[in-house]
Symmetry: C2
Subunit: 353 residues, 2 copies
C-alpha cells in the first residue's frame, strides 16, 4: 500500500472482518463467547438507566428494512447497521447482515468497526439466555426449537452452556433446515431430536424457542400447544407485521420485554392493546420487578433485539482485540497535522503522488 504522506496513528480504526470474527469466536469457542457476551449484556442491563435509549431508525421498503441502532452510556457510543430482507434467502443473500461501530464519546472518534452478522447471531442467543436465566423454570433440561435457520444452533449452544439444557427438539417447516441444524449440533453433546411437526417438538419441553423468518403474521404456536410452567423465548416476531404466537398465548403469559417503546411496534405484543402490562427485563435483573414467581406460570420473553445488546457485544469484541490479534487498521479518519488544515493535507498528498 502506497500511503503518502503517512497517516498518523489517530487516523486508524481497528476493523474486524467476517474472517477475523470467525477466528476470534473459534479461538474463544462459540458457546463460551455467547456466555461471555451474556455476562456483558447482563452487566449493561443492570445500569440500564445510564444509557441513551431510542427506538431504532428504520428505512422500510417493500423488500425489507435497513435500520440504525445507536446507543451511548456517556463514555462510549455504539451503533449497528442491520438489514432484514425476508426475500433475500431465496435469492442467495443473507436475510440479516450487519456491521457496527464503537466510538469514544469524548472526541467522537471511532475505536472499532466490525462485521456484526456473526456477532448479532451470538448476541441474540446471549440475550435469550440472559432472559431465560431469570425466567425459565429451574432445572429445565429440554428445549423445543421451532425454526431451524441461521439463529438455531447459537440458541441451542447458548442454552446448553448457560442453562444446562440437555435435549433440543428441532422443527422447521423446511426439513432441510432441520437436517442442517441437527448435523451442525451432532458433536455438541446435546441430545438432538428431529421432529415432524410443532406438536412433537414441544412435547416435554420446559422452554420453547420460536425463531422463524417469514415477514408476515404467522401462528407458529397456538394456545393449546403451550402447557403450564413453560418459558417461551420468542425471537422471530421482530418487526411490524411479523409475529409468531397466537394472541391467546400472550393473554395468559407474563410478558417480559427489552425496551417497551420498540417492542410495542415490533414484537409479539403489537397484537395487544397499547397498555397491556409488560415487565422490562432490566428490572427483573436489578430485582426491582418480579421474574418467574410460580411453577405454573407461563413466561414469555418477547425479544426484538435492542441497541444496548449490540453495544455489549461491541464492547466484548473491543475488549478482546488486545489479546486476540485478528483485526486490521483502516485509514478511516482524516488527521492532518493541523486540524484546521484539511485542504493542506489534500494538497500535500497531491504533491507526493
Amino acid at each position: 500500500m502506497n500511503i503518502t504522506p503517512a497517516p498518523s496513528d489517530l487516523a486508524f480504526v481497528p476493523f474486524v472482518s467476517v474472517d477475523d470474527m470467525m477466528k476470534i469466536i473459534n479461538k474463544i469457542g462459540p458457546a463460551k463467547a455467547i456466555a461471555d457476551i451474556a455476562d456483558y449484556i447482563e452487566s449493561d442491563f443492570r445500569r440500564w438507566e445510564s444509557f441513551d435509549k431510542t427506538p431504532r431508525v428504520a428505512a422500510h421498503s417493500p423488500e425489507g428494512v435497513i435500520e440504525l441502532m445507536p446507543t451511548s452510556d456517556g463514555e462510549t457510543y455504539g451503533f449497528k447497521y442491520v438489514n432484514g430482507h425476508p426475500a433475500n434467502m431465496a435469492r442467495g443473500f443473507q436475510t440479516v447482515t450487519a456491521f457496527g461501530v464503537l466510538s469514544n464519546v469524548s472526541n467522537g472518534y471511532p475505536v472499532l468497526l466490525t462485521e456484526m452478522t456473526v456477532l448479532t447471531a451470538l448476541r441474540t442467543a446471549a440475550t435469550s439466555v440472559v432472559a431465560a436465566r431469570h425466567l425459565a423454570p429451574k432445572g429445565a433440561k429440554t428445549m423445543a426449537m421451532i425454526g431451524n435457520g441461521a439463529q438455531c444452533e447459537f440458541q441451542a449452544l447458548a442454552f446448553q452452556k448457560v442453562l444446562g439444557i440437555e435435549n433440543v427438539r428441532l422443527y422447521d417447516i423446511d426439513s432441510t433446515a432441520t437436517d442442517k441444524a441437527a448435523k451442525n449440533l451432532s458433536s455438541s453433546g446435546l441430545n438432538i431430536t428431529k421432529c415432524a411437526d410443532p406438536h412433537q417438538a414441544i412435547a416435554g419441553a420446559e422452554i420453547i424457542t420460536t425463531c422463524t423468518a417469514d415477514k408476515q403474521y404467522a401462528t407458529i404456536l397456538t394456545d393449546n400447544m403451550v402447557g403450564a410452567g413453560v418459558h417461551i423465548n420468542a425471537i422471530g416476531g421482530d418487526c411490524p407485521g411479523k409475529t409468531e404466537l397466537h394472541r391467546d398465548i400472550l393473554s395468559r403469559s407474563d410478558i417480559f420485554v427489552e425496551y417497551p417503546p420498540q417492542t410495542r411496534i415490533e414484537g409479539e405484543i403489537q397484537q395487544l392493546a397499547e397498555d397491556h402490562p409488560v415487565t422490562e427485563l432490566w428490572q427483573v435483573i436489578t430485582g426491582t420487578a418480579d421474574g418467574r414467581t410460580s411453577k405454573n406460570q407461563v413466561t414469555l420473553f418477547d425479544s426484538v433485539g435492542f441497541a444496548i445488546e449490540d453495544f455489549s457485544a461491541l464492547r466484548y469484541i473491543h475488549d478482546r482485540l488486545e489479546d486476540i490479534d485478528h483485526y486490521q487498521e483502516l485509514d478511516m479518519i482524516a488527521d492532518p497535522d493541523d486540524p484546521r488544515d484539511l485542504f493542506g493535507m489534500l494538497a500535500r498528498a497531491s504533491k507526493a503522488a
Copy 2:
C-alpha cells in the same frame, strides 16, 4: 491475508480510505470534484420529494455530538456518521470527522464504505454553491470569508469555479488560520486579501460566507455590517446553541434552508419564532418558490448540512470507483453458501484454521 474458506464476492464491500479519497479527489481536481458534487446535489434536490427525510439522530454530550444522518430514495440508502467536537482542535483531533455508507435498498447490502471527513468538506462547499447559484447577486466577484478553518479553502475554490468569484477576503479571530488559508490558496488564481477585522473583510463583498467553529451563541456579523443586496452563506451555525449571526440580520433577510425541521433546531433560525417564514432550497431549484427577486434583497442560506447532500456525495464517489481504482475490498458481509447456515460457516472456518 489467510482467509479460509474464501469469502464469496457478495462478502466484499468497497472501502475508500482517507488516502484513497485524497488520490481520487486530486486526480479529478478539488474544484472540479466540488462542482461535480454540486451537480449531483442539485439533481437530488430536484427530486426532493422522492427521499425519506428525517432529522439526524444525535447523541449529545458535554464535549460534542455524534450523529447519524440516514436517507433513502427507495433504490439506494445512505447514511453518514459524523461527530462535532469543538474542543477537539485544541487537543489535536479534528473537530469534525465522518464516514459513510451507501447500500442497495432491495437486499440491504452495503455497496460502499468511505471516509467522509474530506468528502464532507467537499459536499459542504458544493451545497453552498448550489444555493449561491440561485440566490447570490448575478456577476458577484468578491466574497468575504469569516472563519478560515478546515472548510475555508473548499468554499473559496467552489465559489471561484462555479460562481466566478475572483476576490476572496479572509478574516479569522486567529490570524494563523488566515495565514494558512492564504498560503493554501496562493496558487489558486484568486486575489486573496488577509483582513484584520470582519469590517475590512466584508468591504465590497457581494457574498459573505461565515464559517466559524465555536460551540456557542456568537455574533460574527452584526446588522450594520450587512449591506443591501448581499448574499450570506452561513455555514457555522449548525447545532443547538451555536449561531453566528445577529438576530436583526435574520429579520431583514429572506431565509433559505435545506430541511426546515432540522434547521429550526440547528440553524441560525433557532433564534427566531418557530413559524418565521423560510423557503426550502429545493423549491427554488425546482422553480416552485422564488429565490432572489430584487437587487437590494439580502438573501441568507442558513446551511446546517442535510443527509441528502451526503447521499449525493456518496453517489458521486460510488460512480467514480470503476474509473478511478482507489479502493480496497473489505470482507464485511458474512455470506455462507447456504444463508441459513451461518453456524456451519463458522464451524468450517474452525476446521480450516
